[in-house]
């Protein structure tokens, strides 16, 4: 059964003369118990889509429902069944960890102690800081507290808007482990992120760019559908690679990826021609090997295609 359904959702923001088309016809079906990742850069429309789904803003066109409840007409019931962690840290900075949790339990009319079982896994990280003010927590801890507060009333669908933005790599990893655990308990999770590498941790991913969904598929399928052969290149003269590749007509795309360049070629003769050219230009220790594309490679490919 579908936990979230969206049909041709559109939203335009107007301010004065200018208008921004934040969403341009979004269609989406998310199954119950799915961990769904909405992946895209800032300004792609992630926040707008989430805010429509949690009934905070109204779509201009299209319909959407969460747990069978329409986001426009049934927003009262819907709000009781969802949990929401907004992009900005939105807990009370001057209240302690413990007080925040209790407050949100009361807002949802539940008893924090009774619900403790549900958030124990997450809250155990926070237990040592229970009397510290929320404003004094580190970025990763703040997000864990926000997650605990959003879970305290046992929502059936959880929405998280960029929970890992600005959070360091270690805390991000921990946070995703927690989300997987929640998914394993049967919760439907809708999470947005600008970090492409996090997509691999989702059951299915929606790649979003400029208000349109480029693809909705499991990460493995997205990677499988990358239609070209991808190569990783490294030489001893990395700083010269980019300008030198520009003179090689065979190269279709070249993007820096950490210590390597990821390349695609027009034809199967491309790789050889490219290595020869680089040798002529004085590069040594040239390594060019076929690799599996990642989500980021795919995103850039689909982005250019659209």
């Amino acid at each position: 059964m579908e936990a979230i359904i969206a049909r041709s959702l559109s939203k335009t923001y107007r301010s004065g003369k200018s208008q921004t088309h934040a969403l341009k016809g979004i269609d989406l079906d998310i199954q119950e118990g799915e961990l769904f990742g909405l992946v895209g850069p800032d300004g792609a429309g992630k926040t707008t889509l989430i805010r429509i789904l949690v009934s905070l803003i109204l779509p201009d066109q299209g319909t959407a429902s969460v747990g069978g409840l329409d986001v426009v007409r049934n927003f009262g019931l819907l709000r009781q069944q969802i949990g929401y962690v907004p992009g900005r840290f939105s807990l009370y900075q001057d209240l302690t960890v413990h007080e925040n949790l209790h407050f949100f339990a009361s807002v949802f009319g539940v008893n924090a102690e009774e619900q403790y079982g549900l958030v124990r896994e997450i809250y155990k990280y926070l237990e040592p800081f229970r009397d510290r003010k929320a404003g004094q927590l580190s970025g990763g801890m703040k997000q864990k507290l926000a997650l605990s507060c959003a879970l305290i009333h046992r929502p059936s669908v959880l929405f998280l808007d960029e929970p890992t933005t600005g959070v360091d790599a270690v805390s991000r990893r921990e946070f995703w482990v927690l989300l997987s655990q929640l998914r394993n308990q049967g919760m439907t999770i809708f999470v947005s992120t600008p970090y492409m590498d996090e997509a691999a941790r989702c059951d299915r991913v929606g790649l979003i760019q400029e208000g349109r969904l480029l693809r909705i598929d499991p990460p493995t399928a997205i990677v499988r559908d990358f239609p070209l052969t991808l190569y990783a290149l490294s030489t001893d003269l990395m700083s010269r690679v980019k300008p030198d590749l520009a003179s090689c007509a065979e190269v279709l795309s070249a993007f820096a990826f950490g210590a390597n360049y990821h390349l695609t070629f027009q034809t199967s003769a491309g790789p050889q021609a490219c290595v020869r050219m680089l040798e002529q230009k004085g590069h040594t220790n040239i390594r060019l090997e076929v690799i599996q594309p990642g989500i980021e490679d795919c995103f850039m490919y689909f982005m250019k295609g659209s």
């Binding site: 492409m196 950490g258 980021e296 982005m303």
Partner: protein, 245 residues
């Protein structure tokens, strides 16, 4: 070509009450380097960067930036460096040109030079037609590129970048780093923080801060060898995770 260090920190320390945010860090950054400054949230990166850019006074230790002392010459430091952060850089309710004029004014560029550099910059960014548009109307990626261009309007020899590419789309993110590498290639120095570990690989040298101390420092290849890791993400996870528990 090493020359006089652009940044030289010796036992630099900053305490907030009993809490030691930065604990005796010592390092040097040389001209023409792209220096990566990594660390978990709360490891002390921001505090260290603020001391080096003259925003807060160290508790103890010494440091010089572009030859100026961080205790006595913080005004001279602020005049000579460039600074860009993801959180705040441009005024969204001003137009592109108004932002450029404002920042040019802050750094005392005369109007002829400012007009010249603005034209050059807008041409490079391909934003000549949008010069009178509000910054708010630009896509994030463009905004970040513009912010960097504005930060180097006065051609500082040292630029601090605080998470410059957060949330930027992957193509623009790469264009952005190409810009930075070009600026470094001119002999300038860039000191940058980031949460994207692949970006750490672009650095000529980098350091990892853990709990206020410098846990590792070196070029990416040196660090790979030294710690037996494949990439900077693995290095970071190893170092930062060992500090938890």
């Amino acid at each position: 070509m090493k020359g006089i260090p652009v940044i030289r920190a010796n036992e630099l320390t900053r305490k907030f009450g009993a809490f030691v945010a930065v604990d005796r860090i010592s390092f040097e950054v040389h001209p023409g380097e792209l220096f990566g400054f990594l660390g978990a949230n709360g490891a002390g990166k921001t505090t260290a960067m603020r001391m080096l850019s003259g925003l807060i006074r160290p508790t103890s230790g010494t440091a010089s930036v572009l030859g100026y002392d961080v205790y006595r010459q913080s005004e001279a430091i602020k005049r000579s460096i460039g600074y860009m952060s993801q959180r705040f850089s441009l005024y969204e309710d001003l137009t592109i040109m108004e932002n450029i004029r404002f920042y040019g004014g802050i750094y005392g560029l005369d109007s002829r030079l400012l007009a010249h550099r603005a034209d050059e910059m807008l041409r490079q960014l391909d934003l000549e037609l949008q010069r009178d548009q509000l910054v708010r109307s630009l896509p994030t990626g463009w905004r970040q590129k513009l912010a960097f261009a504005v930060a180097i309007l006065h051609r500082p020899r040292l630029v601090f970048l605080d998470e410059p590419t957060g949330g930027v789309d992957p193509i623009v993110r790469r264009e952005f780093w190409e810009w930075i590498l070009n600026y470094v290639a001119l002999g300038n120095t860039v000191f940058a923080t980031t949460h994207y570990m692949d970006e750490a690989e672009y650095c000529s040298r980098l350091s990892v801060m853990v709990d206020g101390r410098l846990a590792a420092i070196g070029s990416p290849s040196e660090l790979r060898r030294q710690y037996g890791v494949h990439d900077m993400e693995e290095l970071f996870l190893n170092l930062a995770t060992s500090s938890f528990t």
